[in-house]
Symmetry: C2
Subunit: 241 residues, 2 copies
């Protein structure tokens, strides 16, 4: 049976990859991915056949991977973070269904987890992960989920908060949270370029984050009603007395 | 300044640790943790001073770590999965606040991510992580969050679903989800002992998961309204046409 590894490489730096991630990449004949992420791979994999396809060409990337695998080559499709969290794993399963291809997901450190570690410990209680990208999800559904997250008093980790084409989305999201009862001074923060060059870390209040200059390489965190700022760190209590 | 690493070792197998996790453990003079997780560490760390404290003794564990660090030793406090997701990082920040201790969180692969990889790709869209343990969170809040998760049409990853002392909690949770509109045949699944001896993987319907013999080492997944069972895998579409 042909094999495709859907590999999460973590935030990007080599030291955040798992041993299993490196093993899957070593075993693969071909590595497929968004060129920026291919560029983050350790040098030892530079000699492998690499296929880069641009952003928004995810289906093409999967087709290429499936066709390479059909040719008898072991293929790794790399995602930053984890391959399953908004990554390529789902699309690979959908597109390879019915073919003789075995999809193996190799998990990685997703931005909710790596970003949280930079900010302190915001996710030490129940949390939601929401992407603000309305390229694939209608905005009404995103809005409904933000409201539900606030109503459930979840900590929120927000992926893809905004981009050049989607300006002010984090401000729009904050307005929805305010209406659902989240205070403007709710502890919040963000991490830009986690573990990579240009890393930028901020902790403060939601109203500050809503006005910040953030981009699609930023992960935003909004605390729950118990989250505190402790010596500049975002800390959500677990509930110990 | 004294240093404590809050280290996530991932699901347990050595190949799921990051290089940074091993580096932090190597650098540490003392490793503190729940004995089961200390037992999962690679042999190379067996020569280090190890301090095991029983379950539910988390505050004691933190006190010991802070006191070891105050003695000038570098300390690693290990959690399974990630140190921030229901892990020891939050409590360490709270208890070390005001002392001259630097807490550094070293992220790990949390069960939502490692479990999802075993089941297919359930988390390829917005999701919630909820713990059913009411030891530290009142049940009414857990109930409110389950309802909010259903109302937001989130995929759900459930930690600590039940234990000997908390029987039938997953059944109780399923009843709450049904009332909030989730169908009994909603695609769902679970993974027991992820990546460890005795690993057990199930995908099927929520009503089957609600009746399954699961324990506190199990992570449960409930799909959103779009999640499918594809050749036995749980797959949540991202929204590609």
């Amino acid at each position: 049976m042909n094999r495709i590894y859907a590999v999460g490489i973590g935030p990007g730096s080599e030291n955040m990859m798992t041993a299993e991630c490196r093993r899957a990449l070593s075993e693969s004949d071909v590595i497929v991915g968004y060129p920026v992420y291919l560029g983050l791979l350790p040098e030892e994999f530079a000699g492998k056949k690499q296929i880069g396809t641009p952003m928004r060409k995810e289906k093409e990337r999967c087709r290429m991977a499936i066709s390479e695998a059909a040719g008898g080559r072991t293929v790794a499709v790399v995602s930053s973070g984890d391959a399953g969290v908004y990554g390529m794993a789902g699309l690979l399963y959908e597109m390879a269904a019915g073919s003789d291809t075995d999809i193996v997901v190799v998990p990685g450190i997703t931005a909710a987890v790596s970003g949280a570690a930079k900010l302190g410990s915001p996710l030490t209680n129940d949390f939601c992960v929401v992407s603000l990208s309305d390229a694939l999800t209608p905005w009404e559904i995103i809005e409904k989920r933000l409201r539900a997250a606030a109503e459930g008093d979840f900590v929120l980790a927000i992926y893809n908060p905004q981009s050049k084409a989607r300006k002010d989305y984090i401000k729009k999201a904050a307005e929805i949270l305010y209406k659902a009862g989240v205070e403007k001074d709710r502890p919040a923060g963000y991490v830009k370029n986690i573990g990579r060059e240009g890393e930028e870390v901020f902790t403060g209040r939601l109203c500050e984050v809503a006005e910040a200059d953030i981009d699609m390489f930023t992960t935003v965190f909004v605390g729950n009603s118990g989250t505190k700022l402790l010596q500049g760190k975002l800390v959500t209590p677990r509930g110990y007395k």
